[in-house]
């Protein structure tokens, strides 16, 4: 199976590491032999139709920061889109950073891959939360596979879990903590009694929150995931603009203390149902499945047959996210062979 990996940040690097770690196992267990034929980043690309050396890819990126410096097969300044048009591959792994304004360039990458009959695996929430139905329909009309487990909850299984393991169930709503950064901040505030600003600073120093934390703390990241779940699991046709969003920046230590006295915790909860799309701080019972600490993600799916089913897992991290991408690649391989 020939892969083209577009985007070489934390997730792209994780995918390469995981492929390298699991190479033998994939061959033995699934008969899957992965050739990475192209990897692109902002500097350009590394392209070899016979397969690139994964260790060398990782080393080149770590040492120079530029994939175009890859010995012999590095191509500086080439656009990812051009690479997708010129290189022969089976599956696109789209892991460029999320762009919530127009979903580009990932949207164009995915659509062109689909229109060329290629399968697509992605962790990129931008295009999914802006034009989900366009992507799914394009994939369908070209009879390709389109998988995006890694876009929601990182390693926490939810999308394929809902579609495959819970097949036959009617899923009426999904409720969950879908952003690790805000959960870390709220957990620390609850445990330490510290202020929001103080805790955010700490999270930034630890690298848990980004320098510009807006997407996390204002609920935008969680809202993207709610849109993906609403479309994918509840079959609704909605975009990020349909979500009511309220972040955690107004949460005070006083409010957390009052909640605690009544046996509640304050968590940033995403809710997708047939009549509600919402991300907002909510009260959850101490000791309930939602009372998870740290950067963990958790989601409860309400179903008609299985009743409530709850999953918990690591919502971020390069290897964790790559695990979800690898499972999508394997399931496409299994379906194709």
């Amino acid at each position: 199976m020939k892969l083209c990996i577009v985007g070489f940040g934390a997730v792209g690097g994780g995918v390469l590491k995981v492929i390298s770690m699991k190479r033998e196992m994939l061959k033995e267990k699934y008969g899957l032999d992965i050739d990475v034929v192209a990897v692109t980043d902002r500097s350009g690309a590394a392209i070899n139709p016979d397969g690139l050396d994964i260790e060398l890819l990782i080393n080149t990126k770590e040492k120079t920061g530029k994939i175009s410096e890859y010995p012999e097969y590095g191509v500086p300044d080439v656009k990812s889109q051009k690479v997708l048009e010129d290189v022969d591959y089976d599956c696109l792994v789209e892991v460029t950073p999320t762009n919530i304004d127009d979903g580009e360039p990932a949207k164009t990458h995915m659509l062109s891959a689909m229109n060329n009959g290629k399968d697509v695996v992605t962790s990129n929430k931008g295009p999914l939360s802006l034009c989900f139905s366009e992507l799914v329909n394009t994939s369908k009309s070209n009879k390709t596979y389109f998988k995006y487990e890694a876009s929601v909850g990182g390693a926490m299984p939810i999308i394929n879990f809902a579609h495959e393991t819970l097949a036959g169930n009617n899923i009426t709503s999904v409720l969950g903590i879908l952003n690790g950064t805000t959960n870390y901040i709220l957990s620390r505030m609850a445990n330490e009694g510290s202020s929001y600003e103080q805790t955010l600073n700490e999270a930034q120093e630890l690298g848990i929150a980004e320098t510009d934390p807006t997407q996390d703390v204002e609920g935008i990241d969680a809202a993207c995931k709610i849109v993906i779940l609403a479309n994918s699991v509840l079959n609704r046709d909605v975009t990020i603009r349909d979500v009511h969003m309220e972040g955690i920046s107004k949460i005070t230590p006083e409010s957390i203390e009052l909640a605690k006295k009544e046996g509640f915790l304050i968590k940033l909860i995403g809710e997708a149902s047939y009549n509600n799309l919402e991300v907002s701080p909510r009260l959850v019972r101490e000791g309930s499945p939602f009372a998870v600490d740290g950067t963990l993600n958790v989601a409860t799916l309400m179903t008609d047959l299985a009743d409530d089913v709850t999953v918990v897992g690591k919502g971020a991290g390069s290897i964790e996210t790559a695990s979800a991408i690898l499972s999508d690649i394997i399931s496409i391989w299994n379906a194709r062979s």
């Binding site: 949460i251 006083e254 409010s255 909640a259 304050i266 909510r282």
Partner: protein, 162 residues
């Protein structure tokens, strides 16, 4: 959760005991009991007013077992059962008139503010208040919607239960 019941018993010795026996066994608590033998229904039976306390599941089981024992339930809570709802408001509730807030919530049909706690902050707009509301069973969803709209109109951040 509390549940007010009115049962209908025959005026025969042992009837009351038979009716109460399963309640304790199922884990519900009897808060009050009013049993007046001289007040009879038209059919000559005795109405017994009970207030029970327990979680929702236990109370459901109690109701089922009473029905299974062929004891007539005349009334369940006047309107049925009560639920409580906790909500936290962040904002300058003092400025927005505390009394007015409670009055407005109480004016919603079937709603009673049962508890209110305030925690003041250095900055008044960051003050937090926790309100516990009792409502008729089954009204929680629409009440949450009411509180959201109420909070929006007053400029509060509303934190509702999941």
């Amino acid at each position: 959760m509390r549940l007010n019941l009115v049962l209908e018993l025959l005026d025969v010795p042992g009837q009351l005991l038979d009716a109460l026996d399963p309640i304790g066994k199922l884990g519900a608590n009897i808060v009050t009991i009013i049993h007046q033998r001289d007040v009879k229904t038209e059919r000559g039976t005795i109405p017994v007013h009970l207030t029970l306390e327990g979680d929702e599941e236990t109370l459901k089981r109690v109701l089922n077992s009473i029905e299974e024992n062929n004891i007539q339930i005349i009334e369940v809570d006047g309107v049925v059962k009560k639920e409580t709802l906790t909500t936290i408001l962040i904002g300058n509730i003092i400025d927005q008139d505390l009394k007015e807030t409670v009055r407005e919530l109480n004016s919603i049909d079937g709603v009673r503010v049962a508890d209110l706690n305030l925690k003041m902050s250095d900055k008044p707009e960051k003050s937090a208040s926790r309100i516990v509301i009792e409502t008729d069973y089954g009204r929680k969803e629409s009440l949450i919607q009411n509180i959201k709209e109420f909070g929006k109109s007053k400029g509060f951040l509303v934190i509702n239960e999941v």
